[in-house]
């Protein structure tokens, strides 16, 4: 081409040809994609890619693409996929997300019933998260629990061999440990899991509630909430580092692994990493259920499920894949690869061999009975997500720890929640 005009002519012609040329026909999918958050357990992701996906392709000829996204960005990616109605056919979900994306997710009740009959029954607690108007919109495979992670050697230094049963007892131990230079570190900043992970259970265990079952009546302004806030302030001041107020989800892992703190609230990822990279530390790390308060013991529910987008090219093919994936032969092996990081919601796995190699993970299974979604007892909803995104409950506690009066922080949170839940 000698001139730019010739170049332009050729470009226009080729562009037009490409635009007007033959289109691919609507053939059955040769491949499907599964969207996942990268697991803290590398072997869990690898097992899917190197074993399950290949096996399924061999069996059906359908290639399964595993699309991992970085930790904390799955919800953003799901939003993009659902809004543009293009992307992976199957997605992982967490918390109350099936409610957020309800209109874009396929009803998988038939599959849930099949799986429940074979491996169930399902845990009651998980139905809150995935059953919407009696329709299952997700198939849970396991909970990422948030429990107490602590240093057994440092606890022994202050004479504690069994993890404290109540918050007050834990405060007492924490006070002694801080004096010995081993403070606690519970996230009070704007992370996502590790702050909600202990602050909602703390609130509930003192009898405080964010919203009533009707999802409209804000219940936060109560003596129970005030007691929880007062406790949190003391707990923070007497046991923790100031820095926890600015922490996000990575900080407490780093602090524990860096031997800065003696106790935190986290998933089992700390122990997994400690065993792998810091064996000495791994030997003196243990887990315990959250302490109980005057009104019981609670944990946060974060069920990991698989859902199918309604715009999947072939919904039946996606269902067939999930049916195969949730067959005991596949699911069982995958959970084992996950090193018990995910506590399954099917009772057939209550005594699964996955729990045998490392008994320190067993509290994560036990916590399922007392696990609730954020915002409980209110129904899962968009408002619940908005409340979490605005850190209404987290910041109520954080402001109290910064020194604001209890009444003031509760009033501010109530005002915020009334707007979120559109309460009168």
């Amino acid at each position: 081409m000698r001139t730019r005009r010739e170049f332009l002519t050729v470009t226009v012609v080729l562009g037009a040809a490409a635009a007007l040329g033959p289109r691919s026909t609507g053939a059955a999918p040769k491949s499907m994609s599964v969207l996942h958050e990268s697991s803290f357990i590398k072997a869990f992701d690898e097992f899917f890619v190197k074993k399950l996906a290949l096996e399924y392709e061999k069996l059906t000829g359908i290639k399964i693409n595993y699309e991992p996204v970085s930790v904390g960005s799955l919800l953003t990616r799901m939003t993009t996929v659902a809004e543009t109605r293009s992307g992976p056919e199957v997605t992982a979900t967490g918390f109350n997300w099936p409610w957020l994306f309800e209109q874009s997710l396929v009803d998988v009740t038939d599959l849930a019933n099949e799986i429940g009959q074979k491996l169930g029954p399902w845990y009651d607690s998980v139905t809150d998260a995935v059953v919407i108007n009696r329709k299952w919109k997700g198939l849970p495979w396991g909970n990422i629990g948030q429990l107490e992670v602590y240093r057994t050697d440092w606890f022994k230094e202050v004479g504690v061999t069994k993890f404290p049963d109540t918050w007050e007892e834990l405060l007492d131990v924490g006070r002694k440990l801080k004096q010995k230079g081993h403070p606690f570190g519970f996230e009070l900043g704007h992370g996502w899991g590790d702050n909600h992970g202990w602050l909602y259970p703390l609130l509930w265990s003192y009898g405080g509630r964010e919203v009533d079952r009707d999802g409209k009546t804000v219940l936060l302004d109560s003596d129970e909430t005030a007691r929880a806030v007062d406790f949190c302030r003391r707990f923070y001041k007497e046991t923790m580092l100031e820095d926890v107020l600015g922490w996000t989800d990575v900080n407490n892992n780093k602090a524990f692994l860096g031997e800065q703190i003696s106790c935190t609230n986290n998933a089992s990822s700390i122990l997994v990493v400690a065993k792998r990279d810091f064996p000495e530390l791994g030997r003196v790390t243990d887990h315990a259920l959250n302490p109980q308060g005057p009104k019981g013991r609670y944990h946060l529910l974060n069920p990991q499920s698989h859902s199918i987008f309604t715009f999947a090219q072939d919904v039946n093919a996606a269902k067939a894949f999930l049916r195969w994936l949730y067959d005991d032969r596949q699911l069982s092996a995958w959970l084992v690869a996950g090193d018990a990081y995910y506590a399954p919601f099917l009772h057939a796995y209550d005594n699964h061999p996955m729990w045998n190699p490392e008994p320190r993970y067993i509290p994560y299974k036990e916590s399922l009975k007392t696990s609730r979604l954020p915002g409980w007892p209110g129904p899962p909803s968009h408002a619940m997500s908005e409340s979490m995104a605005k850190y209404a409950v987290v910041d109520m506690f954080a402001k109290a720890c910064q020194g604001a009066p209890t009444k003031e922080v509760i009033a501010a949170a109530v005002l915020q929640l009334k707007q979120i839940y559109k309460a009168k």
Partner: protein, 310 residues
């Protein structure tokens, strides 16, 4: 006399001449639009469409994946009753104003130094650009370590220098957290100011400075009465860009604090993202994002008018 480019000076095809693609491309109106087309299409697709889509979203009650319901200005009205929104607004203004001043002063100083002749000048210029070149998320992770209460090099220096007895909680303390993000933003932004102002400085003829010096002007007077007036358009443009980028900053704050502790560092982009993406309230999130518009538009119009007046 202005000389037109040869290609544009060619006569239009004569009427009656047979229609050809080449003939069509010879026409100035057609050809210029063909050249402009890709750029205009790009702007329409990636600037205009998202902008107007954002406005449309902000006027709807629009939970994610659900059809929107037009609510007029209800989202904006709701924000006026949201205490966090006002805190976010204050934070954004403080963050933008303080960092802009610091970056302007620092950038000017940097440019003046870089404009001198010294050994290793080119290498120094290349190094100065590093904070601007390194991806923000990467450099922010380095800052996370620098600001860590235990591993912080700043704390280590202060403690070992005998200035303090125990380290500061740079990101846990509400006031220090704001100071920290301002420092990091300034560190990242100073090279942008420095290099841009340096480019401006190099357009100033040394003769002007020499003439002023002969007339007895001191270094300060030469800077105030010679350098600054000539540099003013560049200063205004670079400030305008910087304010826009800082006002809508996201990565740095997201990686360091995500708006914590207790919203002490929460700014517009973070709040809009959290509401829209994590809270699933796309309408409300868009309304927060659009709340930046009046202040930025006012600034751009004011600075542009000021430039034109001069």
């Amino acid at each position: 006399m202005a000389v037109r480019p040869a290609s544009l000076a060619r006569p239009a095809p004569v009427a009656g001449r047979p229609f050809t693609l080449r003939g069509l491309l010879e026409r100035e109106g057609v050809f210029s639009w063909l050249m402009l087309g890709p750029g205009v299409a790009f702007l329409l697709a990636f600037v205009a469409y998202p902008f107007f889509y954002g406005i449309s979203l902000s006027l709807q009650d629009r939970p994610v994946t659900r059809p929107g319901v037009f609510v007029g200005l209800a989202n904006f009205a709701a924000l006026t009753h949201d205490a966090v929104f006002w805190q976010v607004t204050r934070n954004t203004f403080v963050y933008t104003i303080v960092t802009t001043i610091l970056k302007l002063v620092g950038g000017m100083a940097l440019a003046l130094v870089m404009n001198q002749t010294f050994r290793g000048k080119n290498l120094a210029r290349a190094f100065v650009l590093l904070p601007f070149i390194v991806p923000t998320v990467l450099s922010t992770i380095a800052w996370m370590w620098i600001l860590d209460p235990t591993f912080s090099v700043v704390n280590w220096l202060l403690v070992h220098g005998g200035v303090i007895t125990s380290g500061f909680s740079w990101l846990g303390n509400a006031s220090l957290a704001m100071v920290s993000i301002i420092v990091v933003n300034t560190w990242r932004g100073v090279p942008f100011y420095g290099i841009t102002l340096l480019a401006g400085l190099q357009t100033i003829s040394p003769d002007l400075h020499e003439a002023a010096a002969i007339d007895g002007a001191s270094a300060r007077q030469r800077f105030v009465y010679v350098t600054l007036p000539i540099l003013k358009p560049v200063v205004i443009i670079v400030t305008m860009f910087s304010v826009i980028f800082t006002f809508s900053d996201f990565q740095l704050v997201y990686a360091l604090t995500n708006g914590g502790p207790a919203n002490a560092t929460n700014i517009f982009a973070i709040y809009a993202f959290n509401l829209g993406m994590l809270g699933g309230q796309l309408g409300l999130g868009a309304a927060v994002a659009l709340s930046m518009l009046p202040a930025l538009a006012l600034l751009i119009v004011a600075l542009t008018l000021y430039l034109r007046r001069d």
